[in-house]
Symmetry: C2
Subunit: 215 residues, 2 copies
DNA sequence: TAATCATTCCAGTACTTATTAGATTGTTTG
DNA sequence: CAAACAATCTAATAAGTACTGGAATGATTA
């Protein structure tokens, strides 16, 4: 009986190693970024607005929990998620948070570009419309992330280049812009710009990780 | 641009509130117990082998993260998971842990009753065999937990009563015993007892939460 | 209405974790 | 091979968390 207690403690402690990784906001942001594809420490630090050293130490935690893998490429060390389950877990964690935490719901409502993102909830019809060419699905992330993975039928125009490349987009069809996911604001900015320029633009909250996650 | 940073920090911080709950072994054990159905603080404390006060304070964390609900029933306060997503997340977290952490794999191998739990991975055939009555699916958890939810076609004999009630079980068919899940050792004990008494018994790692989780 | 019971709240201590600075390792480039 | 670079490791400190004991709350029973 006493032995059983010791074994159980050990088992839950191991699982908690994974939970610990998901208990820090900055580590969550790093995971979210890694869902877009492999990245160097420097890129991760810059994108998450933290120092290199701090990024390195958070990444160390991820590495010790076996949630990421590293590889040296020339001068740099690139990190990538160990497998798809990690991205799936991130999606499930933030989905549950959005389901349960009123504060989070309120914060998200403020940044939503209102209220025409109805389409966001209905993958089937978005997919169908995209296939038929009735809407343009627009990926505004950096090009490498688009190349790593993107939504079906999506076109890539990074947010930085959008203003110069507006002419590539049609004015007679809806443009559905997406970025890294619900906590990335690039698509929000893109929609704002497009609307100002007279396009019919919609914000899709989901990114590639949310799209690919098992439901 | 600065504002965007502040918003992001806020969003990830909210999600981390959920992650924090999953970062403590004892809280994980409480969640695992709550997956079996609603329970009083005292029951939870006893089952998790912690003091009432400590249980109460961990449950407070769960409550503040909106992952559980409470209700007064007479003298007692009962806790229950706020919704099924919480159980699903627990399953996904421990599944990922089992996938990635070698230490956990080794610890689990030690308690596995070897190696005939092949059936455990194949729900379809277990279900079919149970329907036909070719195997007996045996739930060895306390009766209330069985009544709250159980696997299809399962019969209930709590581990405590198993020795006295052996006669109820057939010797000419395999008995598939399960309990609260992979970190509960009741089914292991049950299988050991059954085998000693000349029954053909198999241990099913999954509990109701694992069975019900979206895959 | 007092006594009891189940649970929570509060305060304190021991332990962990986040973050920063400084020194170190391994790689590439001149 | 030296200089520059990317990232890590090693302290060190500040902030946060786990757990314990004592007091407080709110419902029930005598």
């Amino acid at each position: 009986m006493k032995g059983a207690r010791r074994i159980k403690d050990l088992l839950y402690e191991q699982v908690a190693r994974i939970g610990k990784v998901f208990s820090s906001p900055k580590r969550l942001e790093l995971i979210d970024l890694l869902c877009q594809g492999e990245k160097t420490v420097e890129t991760l630090a810059r994108e998450a607005s933290i120092s290199l050293k701090l990024a390195s130490s958070h990444l160390r935690e991820l590495r010790m929990a076996q949630l990421v893998e590293t590889e040296r490429q020339g001068k740099n060390i690139v990190y990538r998620l160990a497998n798809k389950s990690v991205a799936d877990l991130w999606v499930q964690v933030h989905t549950l948070a959005e389901e349960r935490l009123v504060d989070l719901q309120l914060a998200l409502q403020k940044i939503a570009t209102q209220p025409d993102d109805l389409i966001a909830n209905d993958r089937e019809s978005l997919l169908k419309a995209a296939r038929k060419g009735e809407v343009v699905v627009l990926d505004v992330r950096p090009t490498e992330e688009y190349l790593n993975a993107h939504l079906p039928f999506a076109r890539s125009i990074p947010l930085e280049e959008l203003r110069q490349r507006l002419a590539e987009l049609p004015k007679d069809r809806s443009i559905v812009a997406y970025c890294r996911g619900p906590y990335c604001l690039m698509a929000v900015d893109a929609v704002e710009l497009l609307k100002k320029e007279g396009y019919s633009a919609i914000h899709l909250r989901e990114g590639v990780a949310e799209w690919a996650a098992v439901k």
